[in-house]
């Protein structure tokens, strides 16, 4: 890197690109396997990602490897690099990305695909795997989108499906023996969780994988208590989105909400013990100096011993002045959690649908009574700012379900008045997103809602909520449309994404950067309606070759249940035979 004061001073927050944070490593060891963890979004977003911190520390704990970091730069910095003829470099040793053995990209959301190409472009690395010879790094993709990375499959050498903790160590051990890329791919191709797109051809016209029946089984860490977890996360020098310590209480979720991809792909539920969580928490606070710790999971209130855990954490001397946050609380799951917050800020809940009928369709498994009781508790605990999340465009949704959102908001106002007095009003905000059908959910076959239908419903909500004095925010339709195309896409989209990038699409997840017209232009010669329409259940899907454990038959059965407005129980209450049992047992199943 050859950037000087006169260059760096012109860009916003140069510290994003320079490293030097506490707990980061500080030298490029030529005798070890070099890894760079690449996050296709800004430093502030990427540094808030727990998975990256775990893998960073894990790879740096190995004798044969080390790991650095790189984030997508803002346009000002990218322009500076181009102007100075510099390539994108890592934060730690300021080494150009093309000098590493491995680049690990995580895909947390589909809208980051163009940023992946943006980073490769800035690093002067060819996009297509077939164009990269031995001199280029091996490019690995992971994260939740790994269950269907077909839209960027041509750009990736390896995809890691599932938990990364164990499989990444295996890859390092194999690579340390010294071999060509092809030899390496041949050795690792049968490991659990490893998918090498170039070894799986696709049908010319359908773009789905030919040998889909040879399933790629996702990698699973069976016992989280024995798995690696960070104890010395890198502490950023600048403020980031979630500037705090983070402890994962458990992985997976048993609720079975039919729209939720995470709820299916992270199965089975694996819990950390209280002792393990306490040990991790004290280590993180001691080694970072953070004053806030997030106890997270997909549904934190479902941790079976949360009260006991909270008591134990509060009694740890080093955690005396630490503020705990419990994200992802369900409305029915844990009322006492409010007492954990020393400062009464806002509470956010996600009923997802306005009527009981629609909540049953999506298997949300909460009742209006649950919602109102929990909020009454919250109001009694002096909370007065409530945010509620809903989805629009859900299967079978009618205008009555939209009216249900307004009715629910009104009932919440009444509960508040009962607690606080007739003239009082809570600060209530309703936010809606647009339902995106995702792979490996019972709703993977569903149609993406029409624009006119969604816009009518948004207008209806705007008027209805304004009339009762409730704030309303809503998500942009067009972003969700592209997200659906990318989420259910196949390899035909590789060229579309490349074209979108060439047209100037980057940071598509950022409203101010998203340019729908450029995406339309990129999609011009593609029949993209096929990604938006309802999919016939027996169709071979682009992600058919991936096995996350939950069977397609189960997903179809769940879809039928949704049509019959029939709920499915939480699998903590009894196995629902989702198919996980064939993965060597499911922690929850074994408890029954």
């Amino acid at each position: 890197m050859n950037l000087k004061y006169s260059d760096l001073i012109k860009i916003e927050k140069p510290s994003r690109y320079l490293g030097g944070e506490f707990n980061s490593i500080n030298h490029f060891d030529k005798n070890k396997i070099s890894n760079c963890f690449c996050f296709p979004d800004l430093y502030e977003v990427g540094m808030s990602h727990t998975g990256m911190k775990i893998l960073y520390e894990l790879l740096n704990s190995l004798d044969n490897s080390f790991c650095e970091r790189c984030f997508a730069p803002k346009l000002d910095f990218a322009n500076l690099l181009r102007q100075k003829n510099e390539k994108l470099f890592s934060l730690e040793s300021h080494t150009e990305l093309n000098k590493f053995d491995f680049l690990h990209f995580t895909f947390q959301y589909e809208m980051s695909y163009t940023n992946f190409l943006y980073m490769l472009d800035l690093a002067n690395i060819p996009f297509f795997a077939k164009d990269r010879n031995e001199s280029y790094p091996i490019i690995i993709g992971g994260g939740p989108c790994a269950v269907n990375l077909e839209p960027i499959a041509d750009f990736l050498d390896v995809v890691i499906v599932g938990d990364g903790e164990e499989v990444n160590v295996k890859l390092q051990n194999v690579y340390s023996k010294g071999m060509t890329k092809q030899e390496f791919f041949n050795v690792i191709k049968d490991f659990d969780g490893i998918y090498i797109p170039m070894l799986h051809k696709t049908h010319k016209d359908k773009f789905t994988v030919v040998d889909y029946d040879k399933k790629i089984k996702k990698a699973i860490v069976q016992d989280l208590n024995k798995a690696f977890y960070m104890s010395k996360p890198v502490v950023p020098n600048i403020d980031i989105v979630h500037n705090r310590g983070a402890v994962e209480l458990f992985r997976g979720c048993t609720r079975g909400c039919r729209f939720c991809q995470a709820g299916y792909i992270y199965r089975p539920v694996r819990e950390r013990t209280i002792d393990n969580i306490c040990k991790i928490s004290t280590n993180i606070i001691q080694n970072t100096g953070y004053s806030e710790l997030s106890l997270f999971s997909l549904s934190t209130g479902d941790y079976p011993n949360l009260l006991e855990l909270m008591d134990k954490l509060k009694n740890e001397p080093i955690l005396k002045n630490v503020k705990f946050s419990l994200p992802s609380l369900r409305l029915d799951s844990f009322k006492g959690a409010y007492s954990f917050e020393s400062r009464k800020s806002s509470l956010t809940f996600a009923p997802e649908a306005g009527t009981q009928r629609l909540r049953d369709v999506i298997n949300k498994n909460i009742t209006e009574e649950n919602i109102l009781h929990s909020l009454e508790d919250a109001f009694n605990a002096n909370y007065d700012k409530i945010k509620l999340y809903f989805m629009i465009g859900l299967p079978t949704e009618t205008i009555q379900d939209i009216q249900g959102i307004i009715d629910l908001a009104q009932k919440i106002q009444l509960v508040y008045q009962n607690v606080k007095g007739a003239k009082k009003r809570p600060k209530l905000t309703v936010s809606t997103s647009i339902f995106v059908p995702k792979p490996f959910t019972p709703f993977q076959f569903e149609k993406f809602a029409d624009e006119s239908d969604v816009l009518n419903k948004i207008d209806y909500l705007k008027n209805g909520l304004r009339a009762i004095g409730v704030n309303y925010n809503y998500h942009d339709y067009k972003t969700s449309l592209i997200e659906t195309i990318l989420a259910r896409g196949d390899r035909e989209l590789c060229k579309v994404i490349e074209k979108a990038y060439r047209l100037g699409c980057i940071f598509d997840g950022w409203n101010e950067m998203f340019d729908f017209e450029k995406w339309q232009e990129a999609l011009k010669n593609v029949d993209f309606k096929k990604y938006l329409d309802e999919i016939e259940e027996n169709t071979i899907l682009p992600w058919e070759h991936i096995d996350v454990g939950v069977s397609k038959e189960y997903l179809k059965k769940e879809r039928l249940n949704s049509r019959n407005e029939k709920t499915t129980r939480d699998c903590r209450l009894g196995c629902t035979n989702c198919g996980l049992i064939k993965f060597g047992g499911c922690g929850v199943t074994n408890k029954i």
Binding site: S6, I238, G289
Partner: protein, 202 residues
């Protein structure tokens, strides 16, 4: 109470004043040293900093007054430096009784401007020196160039203040150059027309 003098160098110089404050608070926590908190609805650690140095300027003369019952200054320095990120280092720590008024002490600071190439500006040239005197009256105490480095002692206090970036902009109206780095080396109080390093006054 403790007074520390610290350096903010290399990449760390690109952290803002507020970010730097947060990093120092976290470093002290990691070192296991208790700092006193303010009273009130939003208690915060009682730390008082010297006037900010502009982003990107490497500083060897930052000061902070810390309200704490911790009494071992030498130990503080050792622990702090062990737990600090790269580019942040305490040069000295000492026990003091009273909070210093940094703004009162700050009159002039010595800066070094390090360029990629040799500087052609001739400060010895009388007509140029006269022009600078007019443009920056009373704001420059001394200035000289040596190879690729310009060293300047310039006003940085309430009585007068010259931003290093303004001076750089002025230089660039005479000559095009690339600036590698700017270093802030010392801070002075002007006493009877003599510059006194504020280290000796704290």
């Amino acid at each position: 109470m403790l007074l520390i003098k610290f350096n903010k160098i290399d990449s760390f110089a690109y952290n803002s004043y507020l970010d730097c404050r947060d990093v120092i608070v976290q470093t002290i926590k990691r070192a296991g040293i208790d700092v006193n908190y303010s009273q009130g609805f939003n208690p915060h650690e009682l730390l008082y900093f010297s006037p900010p140095t502009s982003l990107g300027i490497e500083s060897f003369c930052e000061y902070c007054y810390i309200v704490t019952d911790y009494q071992n200054a030498e130990n503080f320095k050792e622990l702090f430096n062990k737990y600090a990120p790269a580019g942040l280092q305490v040069e000295f720590a000492k026990i003091i009784d009273k909070k210093p008024n940094f703004y009162d002490l700050y009159d002039f600071a010595e800066y070094q401007f390090i360029f990629s190439n040799k500087v052609k500006l001739n400060f010895a040239d009388e007509s140029f020196a006269r022009k600078m005197n007019v443009d920056f009256s009373n704001k420059i105490f001394s200035i000289n160039a040596n190879e690729n480095i310009i060293t300047c002692i310039m006003a940085c206090g309430q009585k007068g203040n010259l931003k290093p970036s303004a001076l750089v902009e002025y230089f660039s109206s005479f000559e095009t150059f690339e600036l590698d780095k700017i270093k802030k080396l010392k801070v002075f109080k002007l006493e009877n027309q003599i510059l006194v390093n504020i280290d000796s006054l704290l």
